[in-house]
Subunit: 204 residues, 2 copies
Amino acid sequence: MEKFASLPAEKQTQIIDGALLAFSVSGYKKTSVSDIAAAAGISKAMVFHYFGTKKALYLYLIEFCSGIVMDAITEKFDRDVTDFFERIQMVSMIKILAMRKHPAILSFLSSILFEKDGEVQQDIQTTLAMGEGFRNQIALDGMDVSKFKDGVDPKLVLKILVRYSEGFVSELPNDAVIDPEALYKEFEECTRLLRSNLYKEEYL
Amino acid sequence: MEKFASLPAEKQTQIIDGALLAFSVSGYKKTSVSDIAAAAGISKAMVFHYFGTKKALYLYLIEFCSGIVMDAITEKFDRDVTDFFERIQMVSMIKILAMRKHPAILSFLSSILFEKDGEVQQDIQTTLAMGEGFRNQIALDGMDVSKFKDGVDPKLVLKILVRYSEGFVSELPNDAVIDPEALYKEFEECTRLLRSNLYKEEYL
DNA sequence: TAATCATCGACCGAATCGGTTTATGATGCC
DNA sequence: GGCATCATAAACCGATTCGGTCGATGATTA
């Protein structure tokens, strides 16, 4: 593993992204080390040179991804923002910006939730228990939902917004770099529509 | 193939659903005939007995699914329905009802969009060109957008709805069968919220 | 009883698996 | 230059799995 750590940062990035992509497409068992090597642009032998085994690489990726997301949140989350739309927008921006350098993190972290192969399932459970719930918890805690019109379900609005922003990301070409300006603009457009129609008049 | 056609209908259903599920989870190349046999509840030898080759089975499934969806649309689509939400809901209902007997059709048809294996890619393109564009075209043609409040962009609303329903699908575990009823219910909930807040008062 | 047929476990050669070894060439140190 | 070090990939290893076949079995039919 020190072998990998002492690589130039951009080569590490390239290998990590290739491996994330390969694993998230096919799962642990069905992803061969040859697949990973091809996606990462190196030879199969180098994968073993850097990580020892396929399993060690997989576990490294899990820790790497959790680390990036959790670091971003603990660093940038501001719980003084209580307005519903502002809060959602903030959390979405944090997640997306955190994944800017490794676009495959999102799909990889989703894929490990449903990994069933016995060889890695145990380790996944351990990692998940530590990180995932934590994130959702602080994101929703202390939110002000009193400004909505009667009959509007904030949970539904939340779901609409989350899926809208995820849709923006997943509609991009695989190798595209996310443009934060465009993302913010698109998100803001949707937010404005919902806010101006779902908030009580006195809060507009 | 006549072997398969002369099977009892319910056994055909069971085999088709198993194969659809297996392929949509892992793609063409990474799905082994053993996987399919296990998912279908028969022996591997029977798969070859019925379909000859793995590829022949795959192509059969593509044609089977396209057939079901296109039949349903040409039969039930009503272009006199011009209301924005009713039209979207109608198209959703048609898709959902068509897939009621084979819940795995949706995920299979989604999966072939991203199939990259050279052995089947050509045939997929041919099929898609025939069916998919056609569907979207008639779905959006002649829609009445005059009932929206001023300042509401129908294209934005459509995008929100599409991403919302796509989000429902992509949030499911990789190997889960899509439940059409749940999809419809969730979709309808979102539609109701948007309609009652984005339409002019006189159209509610 | 003989013939037919659906069915599946066992099997085939070929391909691919995770992982190792070897050959090569670049680098740096004397 | 000579020598050791190291990154790298091609070739290779035994084991497994691949797509596909075959032979045995048991039920059905005639």
